[in-house]
Protein backbone atom coordinates (compact mmCIF):
# COMPACT_ATOMS: atom_id res chain seq x y z
CA UNK A 1 0.00 0.00 0.00
CA UNK A 2 1.28 3.45 -0.84
CA UNK A 3 1.56 5.70 2.17
CA UNK A 4 -0.18 9.07 1.59
CA UNK A 5 2.46 11.82 1.51
CA UNK A 6 1.74 15.52 1.11
CA UNK A 7 4.60 18.01 0.67
CA UNK A 8 3.66 21.64 0.11
CA UNK A 9 5.58 24.90 -0.07
CA UNK A 10 3.40 27.99 0.09
CA UNK A 11 3.46 31.66 0.99
CA UNK A 12 0.05 31.57 2.71
CA UNK A 13 -0.44 30.51 6.34
CA UNK A 14 -2.03 27.12 7.04
CA UNK A 15 -4.50 25.62 9.51
CA UNK A 16 -2.86 22.93 11.64
CA UNK A 17 -6.14 21.23 12.64
CA UNK A 18 -7.28 21.09 9.03
CA UNK A 19 -4.00 19.48 7.91
CA UNK A 20 -4.23 16.83 10.64
CA UNK A 21 -7.88 16.12 9.78
CA UNK A 22 -7.02 15.80 6.08
CA UNK A 23 -4.38 13.18 6.87
CA UNK A 24 -6.58 10.99 9.07
CA UNK A 25 -10.04 11.50 7.58
CA UNK A 26 -11.87 8.33 6.59
CA UNK A 27 -9.18 5.99 7.88
CA UNK A 28 -9.35 3.39 10.63
CA UNK A 29 -5.74 2.16 10.45
CA UNK A 30 -4.21 5.20 12.18
CA UNK A 31 -3.69 4.90 15.91
CA UNK A 32 -1.38 7.86 16.47
CA UNK A 33 -0.86 11.27 14.90
CA UNK A 34 2.00 13.57 15.92
CA UNK A 35 2.23 17.13 14.67
CA UNK A 36 4.98 19.69 15.06
CA UNK A 37 4.39 23.36 14.26
CA UNK A 38 7.25 25.82 13.99
CA UNK A 39 6.01 29.34 14.80
CA UNK A 40 7.61 32.74 14.21
CA UNK A 41 8.72 34.24 17.54
CA UNK A 42 8.72 37.96 18.15
CA UNK A 43 12.01 38.12 20.05
CA UNK A 44 14.30 37.10 17.18
CA UNK A 45 17.24 34.72 17.16
CA UNK A 46 20.06 36.96 18.32
CA UNK A 47 20.21 39.40 21.21
CA UNK A 48 16.51 39.30 21.92
CA UNK A 49 15.57 42.52 20.11
CA UNK A 50 12.00 42.46 18.85
CA UNK A 51 11.53 41.57 15.20
CA UNK A 52 8.82 42.82 12.87
CA UNK A 53 8.89 39.80 10.57
CA UNK A 54 10.90 36.95 9.10
CA UNK A 55 11.42 36.59 5.39
CA UNK A 56 12.11 33.06 4.21
CA UNK A 57 14.03 32.59 0.99
CA UNK A 58 14.03 29.11 -0.54
CA UNK A 59 15.44 27.20 -3.50
CA UNK A 60 12.40 26.15 -5.55
CA UNK A 61 12.73 22.65 -6.91
CA UNK A 62 15.49 21.60 -4.54
CA UNK A 63 13.41 22.36 -1.44
CA UNK A 64 10.65 19.98 -2.54
CA UNK A 65 13.19 17.35 -3.66
CA UNK A 66 15.16 17.50 -0.42
CA UNK A 67 12.04 17.23 1.77
CA UNK A 68 10.82 14.31 -0.36
CA UNK A 69 14.16 12.51 0.11
CA UNK A 70 13.88 12.82 3.89
CA UNK A 71 10.25 11.70 3.88
CA UNK A 72 11.33 8.63 1.88
CA UNK A 73 13.99 7.89 4.48
CA UNK A 74 11.50 8.32 7.33
CA UNK A 75 9.10 5.91 5.60
CA UNK A 76 11.92 3.39 5.26
CA UNK A 77 12.91 3.66 8.93
CA UNK A 78 9.54 3.76 10.70
CA UNK A 79 6.17 2.11 9.98
CA UNK A 80 4.45 5.43 9.16
CA UNK A 81 1.03 5.42 7.52
CA UNK A 82 0.88 9.07 6.48
CA UNK A 83 3.14 12.15 6.32
CA UNK A 84 2.36 15.82 5.69
CA UNK A 85 5.02 18.52 5.47
CA UNK A 86 4.09 22.16 4.83
CA UNK A 87 6.80 24.84 4.74
CA UNK A 88 6.11 28.51 4.15
CA UNK A 89 8.26 31.03 2.30
CA UNK A 90 8.06 34.79 1.98
CA UNK A 91 7.22 37.24 4.76
CA UNK A 92 5.98 35.79 8.06
CA UNK A 93 5.06 37.90 11.10
CA UNK A 94 5.40 36.82 14.76
CA UNK A 95 2.66 34.44 15.81
CA UNK A 96 2.24 32.92 12.36
CA UNK A 97 3.18 29.38 11.39
CA UNK A 98 6.44 28.66 9.54
CA UNK A 99 6.48 24.90 9.17
CA UNK A 100 4.32 21.86 9.90
CA UNK A 101 5.22 18.18 10.09
CA UNK A 102 2.45 15.63 10.67
CA UNK A 103 3.17 11.92 10.95
CA UNK A 104 0.66 9.10 11.37
CA UNK A 105 1.22 5.53 12.44
CA UNK A 106 -0.47 2.61 14.17
CA UNK A 107 1.41 3.40 17.38
CA UNK A 108 2.88 6.52 18.90
CA UNK A 109 6.59 5.65 18.89
CA UNK A 110 6.98 5.68 15.10
CA UNK A 111 4.92 8.86 14.79
CA UNK A 112 6.97 10.71 17.45
CA UNK A 113 10.33 9.59 16.08
CA UNK A 114 9.41 10.15 12.45
CA UNK A 115 8.25 13.71 13.16
CA UNK A 116 11.38 14.53 15.16
CA UNK A 117 13.67 13.06 12.50
CA UNK A 118 11.96 15.06 9.77
CA UNK A 119 12.18 18.33 11.70
CA UNK A 120 15.86 17.83 12.55
CA UNK A 121 16.67 17.25 8.89
CA UNK A 122 14.46 20.06 7.64
CA UNK A 123 16.41 22.49 9.84
CA UNK A 124 19.84 21.51 8.53
CA UNK A 125 19.28 20.16 5.00
CA UNK A 126 16.23 21.80 3.42
CA UNK A 127 17.28 24.88 1.42
CA UNK A 128 15.53 27.68 3.29
CA UNK A 129 17.12 30.82 4.75
CA UNK A 130 15.55 33.14 7.31
CA UNK A 131 16.13 36.87 7.28
CA UNK A 132 14.99 38.82 10.33
CA UNK A 133 13.41 42.18 9.81
CA UNK A 134 13.91 44.41 12.84
CA UNK A 135 12.42 47.81 13.48
CA UNK A 136 15.16 49.59 11.53
CA UNK A 137 17.55 46.87 10.33
CA UNK A 138 17.49 43.35 8.93
CA UNK A 139 19.94 40.46 9.02
CA UNK A 140 20.26 36.83 7.97
CA UNK A 141 19.74 34.31 10.76
CA UNK A 142 22.90 32.31 11.49
CA UNK A 143 22.87 28.52 11.51
CA UNK A 144 23.31 26.83 14.90
CA UNK A 145 25.70 23.96 15.70
CA UNK A 146 23.01 22.55 17.98
CA UNK A 147 20.83 21.91 14.92
CA UNK A 148 23.64 19.92 13.27
CA UNK A 149 24.05 17.96 16.51
CA UNK A 150 20.31 17.23 16.60
CA UNK A 151 20.36 15.94 13.01
CA UNK A 152 23.54 13.89 13.53
CA UNK A 153 21.99 11.71 16.24
CA UNK A 154 19.76 10.05 13.59
CA UNK A 155 22.76 8.87 11.56
CA UNK A 156 23.03 5.11 11.44
CA UNK A 157 26.35 3.79 12.65
Amino acid sequence: MTVPVTIRLQDADFDVAREIAALSRGRTDIGAVVSFSGICRGDGSGDGDAIAALTLEHYPGMAEAEIARHVEEALARWPLTGVTVVHRFGRIVPGENIVLVVTASSHREAAFQGAEFLMDYLKTRAPFWKREEGVSTSAWVEAHDRDDTAAARWKKS
Binding site: G38, L56, E57, H58, Y59, G61, M62, A65, E66, H87, I98, V99, M119, L122, K123, T124, R125, A126, P127, F128, W129, K130, R131, W140, V141, E142, A143, D147
Partner: protein, 83 residues
Protein backbone atom coordinates in the same frame (compact mmCIF):
# COMPACT_ATOMS: atom_id res chain seq x y z
CA UNK B 1 26.27 25.64 -16.85
CA UNK B 2 23.79 27.57 -14.78
CA UNK B 3 24.95 28.82 -11.37
CA UNK B 4 22.48 29.97 -8.71
CA UNK B 5 23.14 31.95 -5.54
CA UNK B 6 20.94 32.20 -2.44
CA UNK B 7 20.62 34.34 0.71
CA UNK B 8 23.76 36.35 1.57
CA UNK B 9 25.79 34.64 -1.15
CA UNK B 10 23.27 36.05 -3.65
CA UNK B 11 23.40 39.49 -2.06
CA UNK B 12 27.21 39.61 -2.10
CA UNK B 13 27.54 38.35 -5.68
CA UNK B 14 24.81 40.80 -6.68
CA UNK B 15 22.79 38.40 -8.80
CA UNK B 16 20.56 35.36 -8.31
CA UNK B 17 21.81 33.33 -11.26
CA UNK B 18 24.06 33.36 -14.29
CA UNK B 19 25.45 31.12 -17.02
CA UNK B 20 29.18 30.44 -16.69
CA UNK B 21 31.68 28.55 -18.82
CA UNK B 22 34.65 27.67 -16.64
CA UNK B 23 37.84 26.36 -18.27
CA UNK B 24 38.42 22.55 -18.37
CA UNK B 25 40.87 22.71 -15.46
CA UNK B 26 37.90 23.55 -13.19
CA UNK B 27 36.83 20.02 -12.33
CA UNK B 28 35.24 20.06 -8.87
CA UNK B 29 32.83 22.20 -6.87
CA UNK B 30 35.82 23.52 -4.90
CA UNK B 31 37.63 24.37 -8.15
CA UNK B 32 34.55 26.27 -9.32
CA UNK B 33 34.46 28.32 -6.12
CA UNK B 34 38.14 29.14 -6.61
CA UNK B 35 37.54 30.14 -10.23
CA UNK B 36 34.48 32.26 -9.40
CA UNK B 37 36.53 34.09 -6.76
CA UNK B 38 38.84 35.38 -9.50
CA UNK B 39 35.96 37.01 -11.38
CA UNK B 40 35.70 40.10 -9.21
CA UNK B 41 35.60 41.63 -5.76
CA UNK B 42 31.94 40.72 -5.27
CA UNK B 43 32.75 37.03 -5.80
CA UNK B 44 35.84 37.23 -3.59
CA UNK B 45 33.61 38.73 -0.87
CA UNK B 46 30.85 36.11 -1.29
CA UNK B 47 33.31 33.20 -1.18
CA UNK B 48 35.78 34.67 1.34
CA UNK B 49 35.07 31.79 3.76
CA UNK B 50 34.70 28.81 1.35
CA UNK B 51 34.31 26.29 4.21
CA UNK B 52 31.03 27.95 5.17
CA UNK B 53 29.57 27.76 1.67
CA UNK B 54 27.23 24.87 0.87
CA UNK B 55 26.68 23.60 -2.67
CA UNK B 56 24.12 21.59 -4.60
CA UNK B 57 24.26 20.04 -8.07
CA UNK B 58 20.93 19.49 -9.81
CA UNK B 59 18.97 19.88 -6.54
CA UNK B 60 21.10 17.55 -4.38
CA UNK B 61 23.69 18.49 -1.74
CA UNK B 62 27.31 17.90 -2.77
CA UNK B 63 30.78 18.17 -1.20
CA UNK B 64 33.60 20.43 -2.44
CA UNK B 65 35.41 17.46 -4.02
CA UNK B 66 32.39 16.47 -6.16
CA UNK B 67 33.05 16.63 -9.91
CA UNK B 68 31.00 19.19 -11.83
CA UNK B 69 31.10 17.34 -15.18
CA UNK B 70 27.58 16.95 -16.56
CA UNK B 71 25.98 19.33 -14.06
CA UNK B 72 23.10 21.39 -15.41
CA UNK B 73 22.63 23.58 -12.35
CA UNK B 74 25.02 24.34 -9.48
CA UNK B 75 23.85 26.35 -6.48
CA UNK B 76 25.88 28.04 -3.74
CA UNK B 77 24.36 29.13 -0.44
CA UNK B 78 25.03 29.61 3.30
CA UNK B 79 24.17 26.95 5.91
CA UNK B 80 20.41 26.50 5.91
CA UNK B 81 18.16 28.06 8.54
CA UNK B 82 14.67 26.82 7.70
CA UNK B 83 12.24 24.85 9.81
Amino acid sequence: MKVLYFAWVRERVGKAEEIVEPPPAVRTVGDLIGWLTTRGDEYAHAFAAPKVIRAAIDHAHVKPDTAIAGAREIAFFPPMTGG
